[in-house]
Symmetry: C2
Subunit: 197 residues, 2 copies
DNA sequence: TTATTATTCGAATGATGGGTCGAATATTAA
DNA sequence: TTAATATTCGACCCATCATTCGAATAATAA
């Protein structure tokens, strides 16, 4: 009857494994992380990992899904109609930066891993939906901001790529001190980005 | 005595191999490109590759070096003292974009591969010097531009990360039509980036 | 206590893929 | 034509994994 505790413990062990995986990924890079090493870091035998995950693939699919989900959930509450979509846009980027700074290993993985992943399992990986939502949200904010003359007018997709690049570049380039960047992004956007032509 | 032709032919074959490697890298991603497949695409037996390159590693070190070198050389002539460092900055980004569009596979590799590479061979890889030069050049232009009120004043390293991110984002995100981006970058910078606070 | 279920892991399996060998086969020089 | 020299490659070798097995060992239920 204490199946409840069992489940919780199992869940906890899965999380432990995921943390280990993340840490190995960060050290060695996705492609050079071995199950052995992940197991070792989690204090398990390699075979035990397979008691918790069907495959290596399932491990980082889980990471991707949980990661994107929590990223989305962290952002969600900030998506509201305000008088200033530009401000909302900035607030969201700040929140994103904050989350990244909170758990570097995870989010570096989220943002870089998909690049080097083999085209994935035929189907849309589940985490894509969150990425798409985030994309669309930001896109919409940009368009609204343009309407209100809070951003210069230009192809919104391109602008998203550009401003997304700003985020990506400031947060992830260089092995710098981090932490600073939360505000740095806001400062950059305020200082550098015009409101209209 | 016709050693000259020999050398040329050998060089040509090396280039063929490199092209094949690039094409496989693009299809499968660095880590999933096999020597077999590269050989196949170049119409050679796997063993033959080793007649031209010491190792897989040497192949993409060659790519990295040649690539960065040509990138640098393509840019070099545009680095001149002008009245407008901001304009020079933009011109260089345009030229970079142009080169990338000219040979996508190569430059995607240049910009993404180092990320997923295992910390490399202990020593600074030779291509780093070109990357550093480019970095310093852009950094200096940004600082000069700030001095002349052509950019708002802010930590120049951060600004470089941000504007580098703009470039990266606009050029590499999405499997879009490309080509547009050469001008798009200029337009974005002119439209969105202030000259001073 | 005993049957049942949950965990764990050492050892084996199998596939993949980088790198090597030695024997061909061209090419060129003598 | 013959002895180098340059190229090419099929067949191996071997290390590195992901993944699976089967046998323990612990926990829980009966």
């Amino acid at each position: 009857m204490i199946t409840e505790r069992k489940k919780t413990e199992r869940e906890a062990r899965k999380k432990l494994i995921i943390q280990s995986a993340l840490s190995v990924f960060k050290e060695k890079g996705l492609e050079h992380a071995t199950m052995d090493e992940i197991a070792q870091k989690a204090d398990f035998g390699k075979a035990t990992l397979y008691y918790y995950f069907k495959s290596k693939d399932e491990i980082f699919n889980t990471i991707l899904f949980d990661g994107w989900q929590s990223l989305w959930e962290g952002i969600e509450e900030y998506i509201v109609q305000t008088e200033s979509p530009r401000q909302t846009f900035i607030v969201i980027l700040k929140k994103l930066a904050e989350m990244v700074n909170e758990n570097r290993a995870l989010y570096e993985f989220l943002f870089f891993a998909p690049q080097s992943l083999p085209a994935s399992e035929g189907q849309e990986p589940g985490w894509k939906q969150f990425q798409v939502r985030l994309y669309n949200t930001l896109l919409q904010l940009i368009e609204e901001a343009m309407d209100k003359n809070e951003f210069p007018k230009m192809d919104s997709h391109l602008v998203l790529k550009a401003l997304g690049g700003v985020f990506h570049g400031m947060i992830f380039w260089g092995a710098d001190r981090e932490k600073i960047t939360e505000n740095a992004i806001e400062i950059f956007l305020e200082k550098f980005i015009k409101t209209h032509d």
